[in-house]
Symmetry: C2
Subunit: 332 residues, 2 copies
């Protein structure tokens, strides 16, 4: 199954005909508490396991889509036009190919991130989620959130989780065409929940998560145990969410992130995303917990560390991490 065929099936006859001159949309970034690591279908970004994230509210991507008076797509990021061979421009154009009204139809795509990309929050998730919503508005499809989640996933796996606010679960699904692989918002609201970003390194990671995932799946025997671990962690984290048990949620999220990094460490060749500063931050979190501060961490495929804590601990967390950027996902 190709992404093109999936889009045809999804649109079910809805035409790719512009309804106006431009359309805009916004989507939040998200941080996974139970990680997405490993695809069962590379072309459709279908995951091996379920995953669970929290959306970052006002931190995300604004996207505006219009027709470009040009022979090829033009892509702007935060006000500056990107060269067509940059990673985001290439990936955006590849996605736009799926909904292009005609071969000579060129898009003008303006993306603006309110998520500080330098802080290690992935912007591709919010970017492709906003792009899917902008396309929906541009073509007047009126797709539902689940359909948009599938559409966004074709651009970037974790974008499937950026269509909703709050806690979001992405069901891996089993269908070959991925029509059952979308994310849904969970009922739980947790106004006191906080995510903190520690900027340890702002340069781009040398190995992207797509390649890192593939290496784990293909070369790390430990990966066979990963799906079982995710299911166990997901069950425990859902129970912790239901009970508002921050200690359990934090412990499970921390363990799940470290287990993902274990898959990279045991890959061949090994992948180490950690910098010396990463280990120092992890140890500082553990020392803070020893000292009675309710703070936990998660990490993605990069050197940066994200803190998880409740509002009541914010002052003490800031005492230990003066440079932390704090996000309140449920506060508008």
């Amino acid at each position: 199954m190709t992404p093109r065929q999936v889009v045809e099936r999804l649109l079910a006859g809805r035409p790719c005909t512009p309804r106006g001159t431009a359309a805009a949309a916004y989507a939040p970034a998200n941080i996974a508490l139970i990680k997405y690591w490993g695809k069962r279908d590379e072309a459709l970004n279908l995951p091996v396991t379920n995953s669970l994230s929290v959306s970052l509210g006002p931190l995300g991507s604004h996207v505006e889509l219009a027709r470009a008076d040009a022979s090829a797509d033009r892509v702007w990021l935060n006000g500056g036009e990107l060269a067509p061979d940059t990673s985001f421009a290439r990936r955006a154009s590849a996605w736009l190919d799926l909904v292009r009204p005609a071969p000579d139809f060129a898009f003008a795509l303006h993306a603006r991130n309110t998520v500080p990309t330098a802080a290690g929050f992935a912007s591709s998730a919010s970017g492709f989620a906003a792009l899917a919503k902008a396309a929906d508005a541009f073509f007047g499809w009126r797709l539902c959130t689940r359909q948009l989640s599938i559409l966004a996933r074709l651009g970037s796996g974790s974008a499937a989780r950026s269509l909703e606010d709050g806690f979001v679960q992405w069901q891996a699904g089993t269908a070959e065409d991925g029509m059952d692989s979308f994310a849904v918002r969970l009922e739980e609201e947790w106004p006191a929940f906080r995510v903190g970003a520690l900027v340890l390194c702002a340069t781009e990671k040398p190995i992207g998560s797509r390649d890192g995932m593939r290496r784990s799946v293909e070369t790390c025997g430990f990966y066979r145990e990963w799906p079982g671990r995710v299911e166990m962690d997901l069950t425990a984290l859902r129970a912790a969410l239901f009970r508002r048990d921050m200690a359990v949620l934090g412990t499970v999220a921390e363990g799940n992130a470290l287990a993902m990094h274990a898959l990279m460490l045991a890959a061949r060749p090994p992948l180490v995303y950690a910098l010396p500063e990463t280990v120092a931050a992890i140890r500082r979190v553990w020392a803070a917990r020893e000292a009675g501060i309710g703070v936990w961490f998660t990490m993605d495929a990069g050197p940066n560390v994200k803190l998880l804590f409740l509002a009541e601990e914010e002052e003490r967390v800031r005492g230990v991490f003066p440079d932390v950027d704090v996000v309140a996902p449920f506060v508008r």
Copy 2:
């Protein structure tokens, strides 16, 4: 099966009667290239997998055993007497219980390490191997190396590998009494082989390898894949030894060590032995390799890093790591 029963079986009627007033022995420390991580029998230190190490020649432990004119064992380490409740004194006395001629017989044990313990080379392996040899001389048993390997293992698992020089393989064995779980010297000699110690942290690790192993085996699902990984790595490393292929040997040893650390990272709660300096050293090794220097590393259950390289690279390795302590295992 208890250690006591194993010793009875091993001695096969040989009495524990002193043949003289004192006996002395020496055994080298060893560094595992294929790691020992996980026991199938805690009391007998029987391992789940085979392992392979290189002995460190002149770096090791001298042990002198005599009868003490006292009511309890007295243990000296590097000239200073240890309090009976220190870790080494307790473990040594527990081992001496296995060969004690009578309940009121007290030993005087003098141990002197030429291996710099602060450099992260384990001294318990050489210590218990030398103790087994000293007891053999003290009682005049004339046990063979394999029997001494079994006897030493009862004190510390990796001590089984410290009875021989050069490259040594410890066969896990399958027997319940561990009579087939001993180490043998491999034929390969490699005079140019070098081991370098980087002293990153001289303080004792907060969690010993015994507890770390247990936590990996009991809580880390990835552990199920570890025995298969070890067999694959062992086969590749033996082939590299046979062909004198340092690049393959180094790559396999590095990967095996990181996979062991992955088991700790994915344990519950997670175990991180790395310090910021550990990650910095690893990255410096990788950067050196990028620059064409033939240097690899291995790590044990602690923050220190050991370098693996050939004599021809020593000068360049010292250029990158000015503080490295270099050992030539095959040079006398």
